[in-house]
Every structure is written in C-alpha cells, then in structure tokens.
C-alpha cells in the first residue's frame, strides 16, 4: 500500500479518524455538531476534513488554525471515523 510523506497510507480506511475544524460557535450545540457544519462548499461541492492519525485531540486546534491560514478563531474540532462521513457503500 502506498504511503504518503506523513506516513499515512494513501487510502483512507473506513475506521480512520478524521477531524472537521469549526469556525463558528453556532455550528454546534451542547448535544452535537449541527448538520450545517458538514455542508460542502458551493464552489467545488467538497467538504474539507483533516486526517490526523495518532495526533492527540488537544493538539488538533493548533493544526486547525494552521490549516485555515492562521485563522485565529477555530472553535473546535469534532473527530469521527471516515465511514460516518462517507456513508454506506
């Protein structure tokens, strides 16, 4: 299986953890992340998620800021496994 420079495999496994960085407090509530937080961008119909491998969850916020080009108001980063985002095959 081909490996990327990061050491992660090129294919995203069903049980691999992904994170979605949130930039507005209205994108989640005390119960859950709201559906709007996962809507694709109308420009390319894609949703950006990050593969974070074994990175500790508390280190993800800093990575989110970097991913957003230095954006200072990353509000959180729900982590979930790939198959939940992909849906049933």
């Amino acid at each position: 299986m081909t490996k990327l420079d990061s050491g992660l495999s090129e294919d995203v496994a069903d049980d691999e953890s992904l994170a979605r960085f949130l930039f507005h407090s209205n994108q989640y509530n005390a119960k859950m992340v709201k559906p709007a937080a996962f809507l694709p961008h109308p420009r390319d119909y894609e949703t950006s998620v990050s593969r974070h491998g074994a990175t500790p969850l508390d280190a993800l916020e800093g990575l989110g800021r970097l991913a957003a080009g230095g954006c200072t108001h990353c509000m959180g980063q729900p982590s979930f496994v790939h198959r939940l985002l992909r849906g049933p095959r």
Partner: protein, 165 residues
C-alpha cells in the same frame, strides 16, 4: 375579600372593582379571571423574549459571518436577504412551538435546526431567494424537500414532517 400581593403578579394592575364586596362565587370568577389574565401576560412576554433572543442570536451570527472566508475555507458571507427571511420566519413562527437553533452555511445561507437528538432532527436552509430546502432524520427514516417561502412559515408537507419530530 382576601386578595393579596400574590394574586397579582408580573405587574398586572389591581383593578378598582377587586376591592368591592362580592359573593364567594363572583370572588372565585374574579380570581380565575385574574389568574388567566396574568398567565396570558406572562406567556406573551416570554414568547416575545424568546423571539427577541433568537433575532439577537441571528444578528450576532450575521455579524460574525459578514466577511467572506469566515470559515477559513472560502465560505460566502451571510447574505442580508437570508437574514431578512429568517427574521420574518421567526416573527411568524407559532408561539406555542419551539424556535429553531441557527447555524451559518458556507454558501451564505442560514440553517434553522430543530434538534431532538442526533437521530431526530429537522433542518431548513434559508438563503437569498424565497426557496427553502429542508431535510430531516427520524431514526432510520430520512427525507428532504423544497418549498417556497410565501409569507407563511411552512407549507403543509413541511409541517407534516416537522410535526412527526
């Protein structure tokens, strides 16, 4: 007559005729009337406060997302038309029903969500146009649709789905 301060709450004025001598039956009617009056006053004030809070939340969100790229991924700014549509929908929303939670969408629309749990929710997307889209999840059951905002909060089909959740 045994009226005391607790009979009149929330600033409902004590009417002059409340001090006149009346029969026990009339007294009971008077007490009930005042209670209903006070409760109605309290309820309407509470609804008005809930709506004000929702509109304040909406405007705060619009300010937070007034510039493009508010999500660091090229999202469009929340449009003034979407804010106006949502304000109108909130003001028309039936008083007895729960108001939605709001969330910004990457295309500048606003999501109105009624979330019971992660498996039971109803979500409406309101944008620049009068076309609103909705999607719902109820356990393993799910669906979506499109409606046109014509001055009423929802049309029948949307209400039917909403009511099930």
């Amino acid at each position: 007559m045994n009226f005391n301060a607790s009979t009149f709450h929330l600033g409902v004025p004590r009417p002059r005729w409340a001090d006149t001598a009346v029969s026990p039956e009339a007294d009971a009617v008077l007490r009930t009337t005042l209670k209903v009056w006070a409760e109605s006053f309290e309820r309407s004030e509470s609804i008005s406060r809930r709506r004000s809070r929702a509109i304040s939340d909406l405007r705060g969100m619009a300010v937070g997302c007034r510039s493009e790229n508010w999500d660091g991924n090229g999202a469009e700014a929340i449009s003034a038309q979407a804010v106006a549509h949502v304000e109108r929908l909130i003001s028309l929303w039936p008083a007895a029903l729960p108001l939605p939670e709001l969330a910004p969408e990457p295309d500048g629309s606003i999501s109105l969500d009624w979330i019971t749990s992660r498996y039971r929710l109803f979500s409406v997307s309101v944008g620049r146009s009068d076309r609103i889209t909705y999607a719902w999840l109820n356990g393993t059951d799910r669906g979506h649709g499109v409606e046109f905002f014509d001055g009423e909060p929802f049309r029948e089909e949307c209400w039917t789905v909403w009511g099930k959740l």
